[in-house]
């Protein structure tokens, strides 16, 4: 009876709503951090009486969290990191209640440290950028996230950095004027490759062809345990993502000629949100653990 009750209580607390609330409340918070915070919240609300029940509820919650978003890569990096930590700690502490308190406290420390990480990377980044007489930042934009691309230009302008927006298709055109390419990432995989917004790979290919260095700037909690062998190995490669959401909408169709209307039916539409950039295209990775070569990632992952 008591067991049933506890499960019900856990379910009253909705991990997905909690996660979304965290993201909404602080727009600067990255997804892995929000995931860890929500799992800590879950522990606070958890009424589980045994360790295995507790672990089970955590695993379920992280699974639920992962399946609730379209692209779970960076989220799962955070959630998995925390789950690994829980598994290790649960072996050390014998008292279950003490274990829970300990987990909540250290979860907070983890989040604090992870938030501080960005400043640490910024310190490294400053040295990097100082060594250039002129830095032209190549802004990544995605056709899918138009709002985002203009947002980043606005932010740069505000900081007094001259910024230019170009089309994805103009990367090859502009690359000769560029000194270095900086990209962020959703995740870094085991071999040092990047998972990032669609278009990163092709920018990397162009940068390599033009012999320009490509630096990735990432927090170490984004290291994910994946080893993709090609683009289609990513967990986000789901049929759901392979459709243009508005391709068949009336608005789209009405804007086109009648002759094209027929063709739309015959298209196989593909609209992925992320791609995988192999390590060969990456010059260096700037992380809070220092500057690493792609092969150096192996040593630093946990």
């Amino acid at each position: 009876m008591s067991e049933e009750l506890s499960i019900n209580d856990t379910e009253q607390f909705d991990i997905v709503t909690c996660y979304q609330k965290f993201l909404k409340d602080s727009p600067d918070m990255s997804m892995p951090i929000a995931a860890i915070e929500s799992l800590v919240e879950l522990i606070k609300h958890s009424k589980a009486t045994t360790l295995s029940e507790f672990m089970e509820s955590l695993k379920d919650a992280s699974q639920k969290l992962k399946s609730s978003v379209r692209n779970s890569i960076s989220l799962s990096a955070g959630a998995d990191l925390f789950l690994r930590f829980v598994t290790r700690t649960s072996h050390d502490v014998t008292n279950f209640e003490a274990c829970k308190v300990h987990l909540i406290n250290s979860g907070k420390v983890l989040v604090e440290k992870a938030t501080a990480v960005r400043h640490k990377i910024a310190e490294i980044g400053t040295i990097l950028i100082h060594s250039y007489s002129r830095v032209v930042m190549l802004l990544l934009q995605q056709a899918a996230a138009r709002k985002k691309r203009f947002k980043s230009t606005k932010i740069l302008r505000k900081a007094g950095i001259p910024a230019t927006v170009i089309l994805d298709t103009a990367v090859g055109y502009i690359i000769d004027k560029v000194d270095a390419v900086f990209v962020g990432a959703e995740g870094v995989v085991e071999n040092g490759g990047l998972i990032n917004a669609i278009g990163t790979y092709q920018v990397a290919v162009v940068a390599k062809a033009a012999n320009k260095p490509l630096y990735a700037v990432i927090e170490s909690y984004k290291f994910v345990r994946l080893f993709p062998l090609n683009q289609y190995d990513l967990p986000t490669h789901t049929p759901d993502l392979l459709t243009f959401p508005d391709l068949e909408s009336p608005r789209y169709l009405s804007n086109n000629d009648e002759s094209e209307d027929d063709d739309v039916e015959n298209f196989e539409a593909s609209n992925p949100t992320v791609d995988y950039t192999p390590p060969d295209y990456i010059t260096l990775l700037c992380t809070d653990l220092g500057v690493l070569t792609p092969s150096g990632i192996l040593l630093k992952r946990q």
Partner: protein, 355 residues
């Protein structure tokens, strides 16, 4: 008291000799630096490891500033710092006290988030007396000095694995490591060496002379013939001034031309280097590691009218990117460029990258 005055004089003397370029070449610089630090550790009085680390960093910073192009100085300073940290850590862990939190290490080494306060650990690190560690630090330093002294022999011992009979080997510049490496192989194998003359220093001439005196079949070519001759070459073996963290080389001017020609002909490029030349720095800006020396050797001042109509530059070093290097032969064995991150992790503490 006299001891510390002597030490100050010794430090000043090395700084001045570095500045005046009276001590040149990464090996002799490294050895002198290591010997100086043995002196620093043994003569100075300290009871806390934190004080010692600060002291070593202070002296190290001055040495590095004295000759910033000589990356080996910084490497030795970082090795000494790492060694002190290692001795301290092993002492502390054997006493079952919590070890120093490695700031640059794994941030999410989650188990270290245990109950104990990291502030206490740092306090312990800074204040507890560890003067009894002095002998073990000095003996570790001595080991490092011995390693430096046996460097060339250790590298040359591997020559038989890399040089085979009747091979044609190309080299560039003059490197004592490569010289000993080739001579060691020549004791048992017969092969020929093509030496690029390496203008404007013409160090290749000296190299060729030394090799031919050891009975090696040696050919000198002009630098402009490197590409043409490369098609006959089986292997390029060269030395370097420094190795950077990504596997790139700071090498004698002309080395990049050799390496690029080798890449075109798919000829392996083997770099012989002691580990003391491995630096944890990255080449964000390749030119910052280069030195422009007097252009006198390119064109003499009395060489006619041309001299005041043109700009003459004479870069001393070349940056060779890691993609052009096939293998590093170090005193700890052969390693590909992609493995260097591991060697850096073993030899230096991430906290000491900026001295």
């Amino acid at each position: 008291m006299t001891g510390s005055r002597d030490l100050t004089a010794q430090i000043e003397s090395l700084i001045n000799r570095l500045r005046r370029r009276q001590v040149v070449g990464s090996w002799s610089v490294s050895l002198e630096t290591a010997l100086l630090f043995r002196q620093v550790v043994s003569v100075t009085r300290w009871s806390q490891v934190g004080t010692l680390i600060k002291l070593v960093k202070d002296v190290g910073r001055r040495l590095v500033m004295a000759q910033p192009r000589e990356l080996a100085v910084g490497n030795i300073v970082r090795r000494v710092l790492r060694l002190i940290r290692d001795v301290y850590n092993s002492e502390v862990s054997s006493n079952s006290v919590k070890s120093v939190p490695q700031k640059g290490g794994r941030l999410y080494e989650l188990q270290s988030y245990g109950g104990s306060n990291s502030f206490m650990e740092i306090l312990n690190f800074l204040t507890h007396s560890f003067s009894h560690l002095k002998p073990s630090i000095i003996s570790e330093l001595q080991e490092m000095i011995n390693e430096l002294e046996n460097m060339y022999v250790n590298i040359a011992d591997q020559a038989m694995e890399h040089i085979h009979s009747n091979e044609i080997i190309m080299t560039v510049g003059k490197s004592r490591t490569v010289e000993m490496f080739l001579k060691a192989a020549a004791k048992k194998r017969k092969f020929s060496v093509v030496v690029a003359e390496t203008s404007p220093t013409y160090l290749g001439h000296e190299m060729a002379l030394s090799l031919s005196q050891a009975g090696i079949d040696t050919t000198v070519i002009s630098d402009s013939a490197i590409f043409a001759v490369m098609s006959r070459v089986n292997k390029v073996i060269m030395g370097t001034h420094a190795v950077l963290a990504n596997g790139g080389l700071i090498s004698v001017s002309g080395a990049q031309m050799v390496a690029t020609a080798a890449k075109h002909h798919s000829t392996p490029v083997v770099v012989c280097t002691g580990l003391y030349k491995l630096s944890p720095l990255y080449p964000y800006d390749e030119d910052s590691f280069n030195d422009m020396v007097a252009p006198d050797s390119v064109m003499r001042f009395d060489e006619g009218d041309l001299i005041d109509k043109v700009t003459l530059i004479n870069p001393y070093y070349d940056y060779v990117s890691p993609e052009l290097v096939s293998l590093f032969i170090t005193n700890t064995g052969g390693h590909p460029p992609s493995y260097l991150y591991r060697l850096i992790d073993e030899n230096y503490d991430p906290e000491d990258t900026d001295i």
